[in-house]
């Protein structure tokens, strides 16, 4: 007699990369190196169908991201459709390209919450990191408009060598801007971040100081602002539970409609990603080979397969295993039990004293016709 496997739990969150177009050019962008062009983007009707299917599947929270989602002229209609489907809608934005009239439109359409990226507290440095002159002043003005429109705000601060020493000032800035919450997140080293690792990776001492600052400020500012912290996993003992497990809680839909278990999944060779233009979201979630490739724990090798922590960190990050060991099915080398742990130390060391020049996120030149 065979025992049927337990039914697959539905996803909680969907990240919709509405577009890869963005006025900013941050060198740690989570988008892939090969950005989707406008001509490849899903149309309004397809996104609205995806949102309906997501809600029916069990998704509770929708993250509208990019690129810059405001680059989509249909953003208000997309938020309206998502809200009507019953999804909690979260807009992740650079704050550029959204004037007060459009913000009021988004609020009226049912937008629940806004996350605004901030690169530094000093305008010159913030603008340099974002690769956009005047970005920081526009962000501050946007935060004021947001408060006037009554929309709740989270500040997203990605930290790296060029701004990590300003982490306390970044939290203070978030309070000044009226945010209820700030995410202090170390840059992740995939795609653009990996390309810029030599310019972005902090020292172990800087990472430890940032963590200590966050822990102190959490106590000091309790009740005023919530501080969420994404650790620098290169300096930890155990890997992050990446995506809370592959294909376990969330999915990404890229601008062209391909459904990915995480931002960087397309760096993994041999995976086939299904597209919402061809299949329903439910079918993709349950049956797509890419989602099933590393779902659960059966795919694991040693030292993960017999590890007591395998249901805690799920073997860490597949993309990091690929980037640092050459094979996505290996244990994330951040783990102290990984035989490839030395490669993490080598990556950190290699990055120290590295170039300060940033390779900005840009579209690759179009291939010659």
């Amino acid at each position: 007699m065979t025992i049927a496997p337990p039914p697959l739990a539905p996803p909680l969150g969907l990240l919709a990369e509405l577009t890869h177009r963005c006025p900013l050019a941050c060198p740690y962008c989570s988008n892939p190196l090969d950005l989707e062009r406008r001509s490849a983007e899903l149309d309004t009707a397809t996104w609205l169908r995806v949102f309906d299917e997501a809600a029916a599947l069990g998704v509770l929270q929708l993250h509208l991201s990019g690129g810059e989602p405001a680059s989509r002229p249909d953003l208000v209609a997309l938020v309206g459709g998502a809200a009507k489907a019953g999804l909690y809608t979260n807009l992740i934005t650079s704050g550029i390209g959204l004037d007060r009239a459009r913000l009021d439109g988004l609020a009226a359409a049912g937008l629940d919450h806004v996350q605004l990226s901030v690169q530094h507290v000093r305008e010159d440095e913030a603008d340099r990191i974002a690769g956009y002159r005047g970005a920081h002043a526009k962000k501050r003005a946007f935060a004021r408009e947001l408060a006037a429109a009554g929309l709740p705000l989270t500040i997203n601060a990605v930290i790296h060598r060029a701004n990590i020493d300003a982490v306390e000032a970044l939290v203070a800035e978030a309070v000044t801007l009226g945010a209820r919450r700030i995410e202090v997140a170390h840059a992740q080293y995939y795609g653009w971040g990996l390309k810029n690792r030599a310019a972005l990776m902090p020292t172990a001492a800087q990472a430890a100081a940032a963590r200590a600052s966050v822990e102190r400020l959490r106590e000091e500012l309790r009740g005023a602002i919530v501080i969420d912290y994404v650790a620098a996993d290169h300096f930890g003992r155990f890997p992050k539970p990446c995506m809370s497990g592959w294909g376990r809680r969330s999915l990404n839909v890229n601008p062209a409609g391909r459904v990915l278990p995480c931002h960087a999944a397309e760096t993994i060779p041999g995976l086939s990603f299904w597209n919402v233009q061809d299949r329903s979201l439910k079918e993709i979630w349950e049956q797509s080979p890419a989602f099933n490739a590393f779902r659960g724990t059966d795919w694991m090798r040693e030292p993960c397969a017999s590890c007591a922590r395998k249901d805690i960190d799920f073997g860490g990050c597949r993309c990091q295993a690929l980037a640092l060991t050459g094979d996505a099915a290996n244990t994330d080398p951040v783990c102290v039990y990984s035989p490839a742990r030395a490669r993490v130390a080598a990556a950190v060391e290699e990055a120290q004293g590295g170039a300060a020049d940033l390779a900005y996120r840009r579209y690759q030149p179009a291939p010659a016709a």
Partner: protein, 75 residues
Amino acid sequence: MTALADDARPRLARGVRLQEDKARGGFVLLAPERVLHANGTAVEVLRLCVDERRRIAAEVAALLTDLAAKRMVEL
């Protein structure tokens, strides 16, 4: 530090929603990057922060009086 007075009338902050979770059953409290599954008691309390906006002391007294009537609480 946030203090809760007896005559406070708490309400859910904007950007926080109490919603039925049809796929999994029950109710969830949705907030930025947070999904809290609310048990039955929590749902009853939170509903009062959404709909009726009763005062804390009166509400706690009403709940305890009700439970005392059911002989589940001794006053």
